[in-house]
């Protein structure tokens, strides 16, 4: 089943005082299957947020058609199926996390009798069970991001649309997000999120869509796109320096071309996470 279908979608914003309108999106055609996790990548200003807003009905396309589970995007029926997290969400600082999520659960169509449980479950899922009765104004940036995710999750949507969900989040938060998304996928939910963290997109997503200046310049399955590099990465956790030259010589002798060695990317993050996990395990 197709979760998202875009056909020739274009979006123009009001032109500046002089000169023609610059299209934010141009002729975007996409088909995202239900249950897939899709990463939307591209430089700043490439149209990622505009595209996500069209998916959730916050803006109508100037041209083309967009359907969510076969329903016109933006219709009340389509929005019942969607949970949305905007970039860098803020909340009324005087309301508690529970009040925020309860309100959004009710707006999302959860009956009054079930809203309390739905809000508590969503907050527990994102790791805010212990802070749900604190005012949102006291939340850290990472907690606000998780609160935003909880409000999107509370009405149990089939499609989650997340705009830069790990922007400004520390590595622990990013790891929690990765696990959450994998959990959503296991439940059969469709997830679309935009990100500048390509490594994370590679880890979490089935599919990638790359935008540049409002146009799709690349799309496909992560494995297929990564395979276009025609290279392999050999990962060695600990290698004595004396053996490195020997290993390269051995590979070269057997016809391997273009051998390069460099410190593995993500080492710092791995060490950071490992150290923190050790601290937490030994802590109070």
């Amino acid at each position: 089943m197709t979760a998202i279908a875009l056909e020739g979608v274009g979006k123009d914003f009001a032109p500046p005082a002089r000169g023609p309108a610059a299209p934010a999106l141009a002729d975007v055609t996409l088909r995202i299957p239900a249950g897939a996790v899709t990463g939307l990548v591209g430089p700043n200003g490439s149209g990622k947020s505009t595209l996500l807003k069209i998916l959730v009905g916050l803006g109508a396309p100037t041209r083309g058609a967009c359907r969510i589970f076969g329903l016109p995007a933006g219709s009340v029926e389509a929005r019942r199926a969607v949970g949305y997290l905007p970039e860098a969400p803020e909340f009324c600082p005087q309301l508690t996390g529970f009040e925020v999520v309860w309100y959004h659960a009710r707006l999302g169509g959860v009956p009054a009798a079930a809203a309390r449980d739905a809000a508590q479950a969503a907050l527990a899922r994102v790791g805010l069970a212990g802070a749900m009765h604190r005012r949102a104004g006291t939340y850290s940036l990472g907690m606000r991001q998780r609160l935003g995710l909880a409000q999107a999750l509370a009405p149990e949507p089939r499609l989650l649309v997340l705009d830069e969900p790990v922007s400004g989040v520390d590595p622990v938060g990013a790891e929690q997000f990765r696990r959450l998304v994998l959990g959503f996928k296991a439940e059969g939910r469709t997830v679309v999120f935009s990100s500048h963290h390509l490594r994370q997109v590679e880890q979490v997503c089935d599919r990638v869509v790359m935008l540049d200046r409002g146009r799709v310049i690349l799309q496909g399955r992560v494995g297929e796109l990564a395979g276009r590099a025609h290279g392999v990465t050999l990962r060695v956790e600990a290698l004595p320096a004396a053996l490195l030259a020997e290993l390269r010589e051995w590979l070269r002798a057997r016809g391997a071309a273009g051998c390069e060695t460099e410190p593995a990317g993500g080492e710092l993050e791995r060490v950071f996470l490992r150290t923190l996990a050790g601290t937490t395990a030994g802590g109070p």
């Binding site: 914003f13 009001a14 807003k53 959730v56 009905g57 916050l58 803006g59 109508a60 933006g74 219709s75 009340v76 029926e77 929005r79 019942r80 969607v82 949970g83 949305y84 997290l85 905007p86 970039e87 860098a88 969400p89 803020e90 909340f91 009324c92 005087q94 309301l95 009040e99 309100y103 959004h104 009710r106 707006l107 999302g108 169509g109 935003g148 409000q151 999107a152 009405p155 649309v161």
Partner: protein, 272 residues
């Protein structure tokens, strides 16, 4: 994308949350405290006699304070509660749910009207208590009931006036890019709403044709806030008849509906 029937349940939900936010922001509490202080000052000043009876002095001071602080509350709360949602981007989370833009606008206004109702009810109760505490200047039980009924009616009319002002502020906020712009423009509307009938009469009598036409146009567009000034009638003036109250209520409700409809239309076209 947002056409269709408005759900009263969703409007009530948004209004309730707006009211909760407003109460937590302490603006209402601050203004009520200032009003209580004003009442205390009025009690002290009544001994100086400004050529009026004690009762009339207390009522004039009370309704004057209600109009002043109520106007501040109506404008500041509406601008902050509506534009705050846009600045924080919470409006995106709300409108990504099955919520129509019209429901959001009407719900926000509903929350502010509830806030103003609490404000006016609290002040009216305070005024009644102050008049009661002064003793019994009225001749009979019937006259006393009429006086207190008049104070309550005046409180209701002031709530209507503040509601119209809140709706005008909402209309401005529906297209404004900053809270400051919305607040300043709404205050300008408040001042113009009190003065344009004078300008219309003045230019009609003495001004050039274009000025008279402009003033007449303004008087059609802007609400005439002077119509809501009924405080004088409570103590000493001609009594408030049911017809007068019905006329003022009809006028207020018509403006409330018209301004709200325009706010919905503007917000529907706004790019978020």
């Amino acid at each position: 994308m947002n056409a269709g029937i408005i759900s009263p349940a969703r409007v009530a939900l948004i209004a309730g949350q707006t009211f909760r936010e407003a109460v937590r922001q302490r603006l209402l509490g601050l203004l009520l405290a200032m009003l209580a202080a004003s009442a205390g000052v009025a009690l002290v000043l009544r001994d100086f006699h400004f050529g009026t009876t004690e009762q009339k002095f207390v009522l004039d001071a009370g309704f004057g304070a209600e109009a002043l602080f109520g106007s501040i509350l109506a404008i500041a709360a509406t601008a902050q509660l509506f534009l705050g949602e846009i600045e924080r981007r919470t409006v995106l989370m709300v409108l990504a749910k099955p919520v129509r833009r019209a429901e959001f606008v009407v719900g926000k206004l509903g929350g502010v009207l509830l806030l103003l109702l609490v404000f006016c009810a609290a002040l009216t109760a305070l005024l009644i208590a102050l008049v009661w505490a002064q003793g019994r200047p009225w001749a009979s039980a019937g006259a006393g009931a009429a006086l207190f009924g008049g104070i309550a009616l005046c409180g209701f009319v002031q709530w209507l006036e503040l509601s119209v002002l809140a709706a005008a502020t909402l209309l401005i906020a529906s297209f404004a890019r900053s809270s400051l712009f919305a607040v300043m423009t709404a205050f300008a509307v408040l001042v113009a709403g009190h003065l344009h009938p004078l300008a219309r009469d003045f230019y009609a009598a003495t001004g050039p044709g274009w000025a008279a036409a402009g003033a007449r146009l303004l008087s059609w567009v802007l609400p005439d806030f002077r119509l809501f000034d009924v405080a004088d009638r409570v103590a000493g003036g001609p009594p408030l008849s049911a017809g007068v109250i019905a006329g003022i209520a009809g006028y207020g409700i018509a403006y409330l509906g018209g301004l709200s409809a325009l706010a919905v239309w503007c917000f529907h076209r706004r790019e978020l």
